[in-house]
């Protein structure tokens, strides 16, 4: 069983799109390289695989949130025609890692039938394997579990409060700069308000899935995965095999948003079943089963207090969050940390408290902490501006941070002023009346305008890549990146092509496979920068080796150019001082008798950069809502974002990332909420009919302004991140627009019809 490398080279007989080209390499708005596969249905997602002899696994899940499974009707399930095996805590084969032991660096405790205990509703309590999907599904339904039920802890009243050792991924639970109480005592004006954000579920369109096939002690896993190398190591530990025996193929992810970066119980069980049965096993979670074991955005209760001088200058900023996690593991939305990087206050205090609930463990979900924290902060800023009688943009400019608040580190780049100015101009913000409830349109609808500031940090993960220049002058570049829709197949190839001085069509790109060099984690909006830098440096390494051959070869027109240097362009090396003297890669390799040159790189962030500079993307979002004055139905009618995020590799794809983030912000503000029954702890809208995410008709014409920003400091390729920043700012912008339309300050998300209903 040799896994096919994932590549997007196409054979000539395959469809070609009639697509305009806009140039070739980095900076150009190329259409997606994987576009044809995706529009023809030939892009292969995990559950599309069907190895010979495959059987189907379906998890049975708990309908209680706390207690234990007393019994199940295993016999009924086994008796169902087609059912092969039923795995429960009584017969589950051993694992080689304790699932209640966290595995660093990003390990979570997982539920893999280690006992009969139930920690949350929708926890797997059995796995049924059958010859057909229909039989496995019914087998699971026939189990009819009986429970010993303990009261579910749901919400602030019944959950257990605790002081967390950390928030998010290794973040400090409390950060303080300056004297917060002194700041408040100096204030002429203060604001204080409480905000609530609900549990939200990633709901990638592709449910979590795995097709597992063992060959002795080797296993190949087709699964959507945002962190290939890390996952291989984790699975190897669970199954007691060397890491190199685990191969994950993840050429396409049907959305991830953080939920496919962590290991979950159901997939481990399916892999275990495949080993036990010696047959390939497919498991795909149902939509309902995604509301539990695969992470979510934890609920928060936040309080913001601000003190201002009479001119609006902040004197103190205090942001506190109670962040919910599960009863057995910790992932706390670092929501209050949203108040650290943005507004220049001489005193800032951010702090977190934990709350244990009987839910699945939350996890990182698109802008974890930043989204929920920004939602509260940006509304609070609007309230503070209102309290000062100031325009919200003027207030933000008054408190503009020229250096990072608290640390006083310079920003590696920060074009936020331009974002404010361009967004506001495009939106027509200067025509906004200061007070609420002033605007109506021709149809009599209430109209409101609001804004929010967007900000997102720039993490950088270690990554590796390989670039092979081939005898014919083309290249193969390889790194195990993850394309979950952001466009890695395209943007990373553009970066590689640029580094190699080749047209993108001359570059074959292999990715989405764990046997390739480790591209790090596709998360934190850091994938393009991280994997991109590795590709850039691997390409640079290959070109340096090629150049060595040429400048040291007396037969080359580039002979002796070593000190002057050469540039790589169009598949040729050119003397830097005399562009006419050049030679093709193929010629150089042929003369040297080389079949190829292999460049490699292991890249990471220069530690000095992070210690000396603050690294953030920025933006400003402006929203218009219209609200029916009698009925309270809300529609976002305009949404304009201006973002500065370093160098743009592909403006078409970057725009799509911003749009996606802004729609997530709209969804956060007006739609998404998992509703939990307080008696049972069951989520009562665990589907896509009642857990509302926006549909096409909810989305107004969007605009994203790409504000240029050169950043030579953040990393050598100048790339920041664009995947998550669009949510931040947008939630507040819409909530503030709702206030501006109605005069009602809604501090609990999502904003509902009854919240804005006039008396």
């Amino acid at each position: 069983m040799s896994p096919e490398p994932s590549s997007l080279q196409r054979t000539p007989s395959e469809p070609k799109a009639a697509i305009s080209r806009y140039g070739s390499n980095a900076g150009q708005p190329l259409t997606r390289r994987d576009g044809i596969l995706k529009v023809t249905g030939r892009a292969t997602y995990a559950a599309d695989n069907h190895p010979e002899g495959m059987v189907f696994a379906v998890t049975a899940v708990s309908r209680i949130a706390r207690g234990r499974v007393r019994s199940m009707n295993i016999e009924a399930a086994r008796a169902h025609p087609g059912v092969i095996e039923v795995l429960t805590s009584a017969n589950r084969p051993p694992l080689f890692h304790d699932p209640d032991e966290k595995m660093p660096p990003f390990g979570f405790r997982v539920e893999v039938l280690q006992d009969d205990g139930v920690r949350y509703a929708n926890q797997p309590i059995a796995l049924v394997i059958a010859e057909t999907l229909e039989a496995a599904t019914e087998g699971a339904a026939l189990l009819d579990p009986q429970y010993d039920v303990e009261p579910a802890r749901v919400g602030l009243d019944t959950g257990l409060r605790f002081d967390p050792p950390g928030v998010g991924v290794g973040g400090a639970p409390m950060t303080a700069f300056g004297d917060i109480e002194a700041g408040f005592s100096k204030a002429a004006i203060t604001m204080e308000a409480d905000y609530e954000t609900p549990p939200q579920y990633h709901n990638a369109m592709e449910p979590h899935a795995v097709v597992a096939e063992w060959d002795g002690d080797h296993v190949v896993l087709d699964m959507p995965n945002q962190a290939l190398a890390l996952s291989c190591a984790t699975y190897a530990a669970f199954f007691g095999i060397p890491v190199e025996n685990v191969t994950i193929r993840s050429p396409f992810l049907g959305g991830g948003f953080g939920s496919k970066a962590i290991i979950n119980g159901p997939q481990i069980l399916a892999i275990l079943a495949a080993r036990m049965l010696k047959r390939p096993v497919k498991l795909a979670l149902t939509r309902a089963q995604m509301y539990g074991p695969v992470g979510h955005r934890g609920q928060t209760w936040q309080r913001l207090r601000m003190g201002m001088e009479s001119d609006g200058q902040l004197t103190a900023l205090h942001h506190r969050s109670i962040s919910a996690t599960s009863a057995f593991d910790d992932f706390l939305e670092p929501a209050a940390n949203a108040s650290l990087p943005l507004y220049a206050s001489p005193a800032i205090l951010v702090e977190h408290e934990g709350l244990r609930l009987d839910t699945g463990t939350p996890g990182p979900m698109r802008a974890p902490g930043e989204a929920s924290g920004s939602a509260a902060l940006e509304v609070a800023i609007d309230e503070a501006a209102e309290a000062c009688g100031m325009d919200p943009l003027e207030f933000r400019l008054k408190n503009y941070a020229e250096t990072e608040p608290g640390t006083n580190k310079p920003f590696s780049s920060k074009a936020l002023r331009t974002c404010y100015a361009e967004g506001a101009a495009r939106f027509g913000w200067s025509r906004r009346p200061l007070s609420a409830g002033q605007m109506r349109d021709d149809d009599g609808l209430l109209v409101g305008w609001g804004m929010g500031t967007a900000v997102f940090h720039c993490p950088h993960f270690p990554a590796e890549a390989r670039a092979t220049l081939r005898a014919d002058g083309t290249a193969l570049v390889e790194t195990g990146a993850a394309d979950m829709g952001q466009g890695a197949w395209t943007a990373l190839a553009q970066i590689a092509a640029e580094a190699l001085g080749l047209d993108i069509d001359e570059v074959e790109f292999h990715s989405g496979l764990s046997t390739l060099p480790d591209a790090g984690i596709a998360g934190g909006s850091g994938h393009t920068a991280s994997a991109g830098l590795a590709l850039n440096q691997a390409g640079g390494d290959a070109i340096a080796q090629l150049s060595d051959l040429a400048v040291n070869d007396p037969a080359s027109p580039l002979f002796g150019a070593g000190n002057i240097g050469v540039t790589a362009r169009g598949g040729r090396l050119h003397r830097r001082d005399d562009e006419d003297r050049s030679e093709s890669y193929a010629e150089i390799l042929a003369r040297a008798g080389r079949s190829d040159i292999v460049g490699t790189a292991k890249s990471a962030r220069d530690p000095d950069v992070a210690s000396t500079h603050a690294l953030y993307s920025h933006g400003a979002v402006f929203a218009e809502v219209k609200i029916d004055p009698d009925l309270g139905q809300i529609r976002t009618t305009r949404l304009i974002g201006a973002f500065a995020a370093g160098r743009v590799i592909n403006p078409r794809l970057v725009q799509s990332q911003y749009f996606g983030g802004m729609i997530w912000g709209l969804s956060f503000a007006l739609h998404e909420e998992a509703v939990t029954d307080k008696r049972t702890g069951r989520i009562m809208n665990a589907d896509l009919a009642e857990y509302h995410v926006p549909v096409n008709a909810d989305v107004p014409p969007l605009e994203a302004i790409l504000v240029p920003e050169d950043d030579a400091i953040v990393n050598p390729i100048g790339v920041k991140g664009v995947g998550e920043i669009g949510i931040t700012g947008t939630v507040g912008a819409i909530a503030n627009a709702v206030w501006h339309a109605t005069g009602k300050r809604v501090r609990k998300f999502p904003i509902r019809i009854e919240d804005v209903l006039s008396a």
Binding site: R63, I64, P81, E134, T137, E138, A141, G428, R431, P433, Q438, M439, R440, D441, D442, D443, L445, V447, E624, K626, D628, D630, L631, G632, Q633, R635, T637, R638, L670, H671, V675, T676, D677, R679, T680, R682, M684, N685, A689, E690, H692, P694, V695, N696, A697, D698, P700, P701, E703, R752, I753, E754, L757
Partner: protein, 356 residues
């Protein structure tokens, strides 16, 4: 989904005979039935496929000006039938505000009449639900019930009927044609769905084996010029109603001769508002009149839980539906059928705001 016997009768008579066996259900498109089977709410022993039965997929115009709609006519085919949409515009608008284009292409008229409640406790087989399992109780009563009934509920059941289509049908006195073991019979649509009472939550009066074969609407030309359906939703499209209203007016100048009014998503059945209709007779079409009618329509409303706001909304959506209906049926179907929002074609032009 449990295993079942799948039968494909060739005729209506065969179907009725087949369905006489206990544990049988009829399958038309399956957009509701299959969903309920997947979540375990329905576990039939026999599925009787009526989707190909001849003669049930026609829209027939009757000599008296009314129309007969076969039970297998697809929702979208009815809504986009030009003659039907002109004669019964509020029905067309209601149909197009329901579900999605894909579901409307599949779902049948008969199935729509019998679609079951969206109450989360009905759908969740681990919850108590008198409607799913008589006598088990109602977990919605003390549960998450902000969208539940405000009219006609009892402690037995506070669920609402989810159909948009049925709301204008109720207003129009549609007649349901039923074929069963005892032969053919007819019911006014108001008598088809049942409200819960003090002891039970039976949904419809149909007996096992009964099959809806068609639906008749009486002639309503006098109402066609002033007919609207309005639906409040938590997203702009592809969502069930929070509340909805159908309003049809027979106008003499600006005086209302008569009206047809029903509310949706407020009760276990589409809620015909007879009291509101009575309040409008001979009145001028204006805000006060409509407010009076809405007050009459909701005189008996009371919250069944955390949903008092729905009473306010039901009142207001009825006023809105009446207001829009009195302004006249739009010449073209709105881009967002039944939405309170007018269509948006482009980013707001600079001059369209009235700043106070």
């Amino acid at each position: 989904m449990n295993r079942f016997d799948f039968l494909r009768p060739a005729s209506l008579a065969e179907a009725i005979t087949a369905a006489a066996v206990p544990g049988s259900v009829y399958l038309a498109a399956g957009t509701n039935l299959l969903d309920l089977m997947k979540i375990g709410v329905t576990r039939p022993e026999r599925v009787i496929d009526i989707s190909r039965l001849p003669g049930l997929d026609r829209i027939e115009w009757l000599p008296d000006g009314g129309v007969r709609i076969g039970a297998l006519v697809r929702n979208s085919d009815l809504a986009y039938d030009a003659r039907f949409a002109a004669a019964y515009p509020a029905v067309a608008e209601a149909l197009l505000s329901g579900a999605s284009a894909q579901l409307r292409n599949a779902a049948t008229v008969g199935g729509n009449l019998l679609q079951r409640t969206r109450c989360a406790y009905f759908q969740d087989i681990a919850s108590a639900c008198n409607r799913r399992e008589p006598g088990s109780g109602c977990d919605a009563l003390q549960g998450e019930n902000r969208l539940h009934a405000v009219l006609g509920w009892t402690e037995q059941c506070i669920a609402t009927h989810p159909s948009d289509f049925c709301v204008p049908l109720a207003a129009l006195d549609a007649v349901v044609e039923i074929e069963g073991a005892a032969g053919r019979r007819e019911l006014p649509i108001e008598a088809l769905h049942r409200l819960p009472d003090a002891i039970s939550a039976t949904e419809s009066v149909l007996a096992p084996g009964d099959l809806i074969i068609g639906l008749r609407l009486p002639e309503a030309a006098a109402l066609a010029g002033h007919a609207r359906y309005v639906k409040l939703r938590e997203r702009t499209s592809y969502a069930f109603a929070v509340v909805s209203a159908a309003a049809m007016l027979d106008m003499d100048g600006d005086t209302i001769r008569s009206s047809r009014i029903a509310l949706g998503a407020v009760a276990a059945k589409p809620w015909r508002a007879h009291a509101a209709e009575a309040a409008l007779v001979g009145q001028r079409a204006n805000r006060e009149t409509f407010e009076t009618a809405a007050t009459a329509a909701l005189a008996d409303a009371r919250p069944s839980g955390d949903n008092a706001f729905k009473i306010t909304l039901a009142h207001r959506i009825l006023v809105r539906a009446l207001t829009l209906a009195s302004a006249g049926t739009p010449k073209v179907m709105p881009a967002l059928p039944a939405s309170p929002f007018p269509e948006q074609h482009a980013p707001a032009p600079k001059g369209d705001l009235h700043v106070a």
